[in-house]
């Protein structure tokens, strides 16, 4: 996907005549110089969101709270996915998902929606999607703080001991989300219906990610449908990011070996306490985040050449 049909223009901008490394350094320096602007944009996002409602922060907690109640009732009592502490289990995945989804869906129209600004002032354009991601990060951290007493109560004090792993998880997920948002926000300028398409994609993606069910549920079932499902989950990067976060804040869910397959069982799943992420998990998520960010950043700048003409 490119913004330009190849060969119609021969861009000979200053940045392209220099070696790529120096061009990249220039771009990053420029981003560093614009950090105050990024801070202001994040502040604006947060202020505008909280200014017009006395309940402010409460509203941003309402969605995860309601979703937790709904999914706990449905899955813990009606469909009975008996995962220990289902609400804690759900929250440990859903908060990450919500951060990811809100960032992408908010940032995808950040370029198109700021047309007047882009046509009138120069600043590093990646600030627009990044400011959405960072303001969502603030919501994410506040929501995490708000539910932490509940998590500690259900999963024990060892969560605090694993705090460094939680922070690493937050950083890695933020980098990954930034890469995706830059890519999509840039592409959305050329393909304006991307933002509608992404809503549908996220609906499917949500269920294709182990958020409301444990990974162990598909991993240990021996039939062909479950095999396909397992491989889909393995290739879904969000599976890994959810795991990275959930394992250090909730624990690892495993199938109960005492339960025979296919029979009713009071406790089909067992959960460990919070654990350190495995090296494999770290390598996969860090690599995925770095590659996504690199590709997203590179393509965003390819798209950005035409922003002022196309928005």
């Amino acid at each position: 996907m490119r913004a330009e049909p190849a060969g119609t223009t021969s861009p000979a901008t200053r940045s392209l005549t220099l070696p790529a490394v120096q061009a990249l350094r220039d771009k990053l320096l420029e981003l560093w110089r614009a950090r105050e602007l990024l801070r202001q944009f994040v502040g604006k996002e947060l202020k505008v969101r909280y200014k017009n409602s006395a309940l402010g922060f409460f509203w941003s907690l309402l969605t995860p709270a309601l979703m937790t109640v709904v999914f706990t009732v449905v899955f813990a009592f009606v469909i009975r996915i008996n995962v220990p502490d289902f609400a804690a289990f759900f929250l440990s995945g859903y908060l990450v998902w919500q951060f990811f989804q809100n960032s992408v869906q908010g940032a995808i129209q950040s370029i198109v929606g700021s047309g007047s600004l882009i046509k009138k002032v120069y600043f590093p354009r990646e600030i627009l999607p990044l400011s959405i991601v960072l303001s969502q990060l603030v919501h994410f951290l506040l929501a995490l703080l708000a539910v932490s007493p509940y998590l500690i109560w259900t999963r024990g004090w060892s969560i605090l001991f694993h705090l460094p792993a939680v922070l690493v998880g937050v950083v890695v997920i933020t980098v990954f989300t930034s890469g995706i948002t830059m890519l999509l926000a840039g592409a959305n300028v050329t393909f304006r219906d991307l933002q509608e398409l992404i809503v549908v994609i996220f609906m499917v993606w949500f269920y294709a990610t182990p958020i409301i069910y444990p990974l162990a549920m598909v991993a240990n079932v021996d039939n062909s449908a479950a095999k396909i499902a397992a491989s889909v989950l393995a290739y879904n990067p969000m599976t890994w990011f959810i795991r990275l976060f959930r394992e250090s804040i909730y624990g690892v869910v495993t199938a109960n070996p005492a339960c025979a397959p296919g029979r009713e069982c009071a406790e089909p799943f067992l959960a460990s306490g919070p654990v350190w992420p495995s090296p494999e998990l770290l390598v996969v998520t860090v690599t995925a985040a770095a590659v996504t960010f690199g590709v997203g950043y590179f393509l965003f700048h390819r798209f950005a050449v035409n922003f002022a003409k196309e928005v």
């Binding site: 000979a12 007047s116 009138k120 120069y122 600043f123």
Partner: protein
């Protein structure tokens, strides 16, 4: 130490010319239809058709530090595009642009102000957009607020500001950025007279301190006052670069003088060239050519055009502007009327009748021939017609609202004819033939 050298590196070195432009070409893509999204791309198996339009072609010049340069040209000559390239908003398609020093651009005052945020918050947001750090804004905060005169309203959301306050705040922030190079696009024509004077004073101070200014304006007087040098652009090409006075003369020549004399084709028109505008005249209801009329006179713009290749349908329109900007725009297709089909070489004459409900001033009409969607411009003759509306009694302002007065209740008093009591009684004395025009 390291931080200092890093800062120097970031700021860029300030030796050498302020602006160097070499072989700059900027293209715009004029789509024949609105470019669609993924769905259109997948279902139609082709890219949307478009034509390239060169807004700037092969422009080269150097601006030394401390120079103040005015860029002038017709609407569509590429001057605003050039400013946007200098402001780094548009990357060059071809050629090289090198800028030394910190640039602030005033392309639109208050671009990026957010209505829900307070004046104070907007100062910080807008300052950051213009490239200031937090401490730099802190330093300038009082100057900005005092210059704009909005101190009592600092904690009010700017949504509730009057348009004057909004504009003043925007200018105050921009001028206090204190850049090395200031790029200005027509924005000086805002605010009340007193504020304008203060703004011009600020620009002059700025120039005194040896900073570089690049201004784009229609206002030749302002350019001559402020600038040492002008660059005249014509259809994307640099046609003159030299002293301000000479530049203004060049520009006036390019604009042509007698708009009502018709169109000289090599003079200012542009467009795809599929259609040529041969002649444009402005007549009154009797069919007599007019250049000076009374308020609310009915007139007819007659555009004669020739198709230079087969055209299915096109639209003829007119844009009327006054000294402060565009006032009115109309196209035949907006009224459900298309012109065509026209085989190559065929001519057509289109009449646009209108009533100029404006009061005293000078006005310009730009005829345009476009595709039926008014997207692709076949032919545009900027400011082909110039006419004047003479002062008349009965009301003052911008729009002629054709007011009538009466005393509904209570005693009325006849003070005499409007010749003696109107706001502009002197002009009425020699207007015997005008009443004819007006009645006509």
């Amino acid at each position: 130490m390291v931080l200092d050298s890093l800062r120097d590196f970031i700021r860029g070195d300030t030796d050498g010319p302020a602006i160097q432009v070499e072989g700059l070409t900027e293209r715009f893509r004029l789509y024949k239809e609105r470019p669609g999204g993924i769905k259109e791309r997948l279902t139609r198996f082709r890219r949307p058709e478009y034509e390239d339009f060169e807004a700037l072609s092969d422009v080269t010049f150097v601006i030394e530090q401390g120079e103040s340069v005015g860029i002038i040209g017709h609407n569509g000559s590429g001057k605003s595009t050039l400013l946007k390239v200098l402001a780094r908003i548009l990357p060059p398609d071809e050629g090289r642009v090198e800028i030394n020093g910190r640039v602030a651009s005033l392309l639109e005052l208050g671009a990026g102000m957010h209505g829900d945020l307070s004046g104070r918050e907007n100062v910080y947001l807008n300052g950051a957009i213009l490239g200031l750090t937090r401490s730099e804004i802190d330093e300038r905060f009082d100057d900005i607020v005092d210059f704009a005169g909005v101190r009592p309203f600092l904690d009010t959301a700017v949504r509730n500001y009057s348009s004057g306050m909004y504009v003043r705040l925007g200018f105050a922030i921009a001028i206090n950025v204190d850049p090395d190079i200031l790029l200005v696009d027509e924005v000086l024509s805002v605010g009340d007279a007193q504020f304008q004077e203060r703004s011009l004073q600020r620009m002059a101070d700025f120039k005194e301190r040896g900073k570089t200014i690049v201004v784009v304006s229609h206002d030749l007087n302002a350019i001559e006052d402020l600038c040492d040098r002008t660059i005249v652009l014509h259809r994307g090409k640099l046609v003159f670069d030299g002293p301000a006075g000479e530049g203004a003369t060049q520009y006036a020549q390019l604009m042509g003088t007698g708009g009502t004399e018709g169109v000289r084709h090599d003079d200012g028109s542009y467009g795809s060239g599929h259609v040529r505008i041969d002649d444009v005249i402005l007549v009154d209801t009797h069919g007599t050519r007019v250049t000076s009329v009374m308020p609310s006179t009915q007139m007819r713009l007659r555009v004669r055009l020739t198709a230079r290749q087969d055209i299915d349908a096109c639209s003829v329109g007119a844009i009327v502007r006054g000294t402060s900007g565009d006032l009115y725009e109309v196209h035949t297709t907006w009224q459900g009327l298309g012109v065509g089909p026209l085989p190559a070489g065929a001519t057509a004459v289109v009449d646009i009748s209108f009533t100029a409900h404006v009061l005293a001033g000078r006005f310009w009409i730009t005829p345009v021939v476009t595709d039926p969607g008014v997207r692709e411009q076949h032919a545009v003759v900027p400011d082909a017609i110039e006419f004047e509306v003479r002062p008349a009694p009965g009301g003052v302002g911008i729009v002629d609202m054709v007011a009538a007065t009466s005393v509904f209740e209570g005693p009325a008093l006849r003070l005499g004819g409007i010749e003696t009591t109107g706001p502009l009684p002197i002009v009425r004395a020699d207007t015997d033939d005008d009443s004819e025009t007006r009645a006509g």
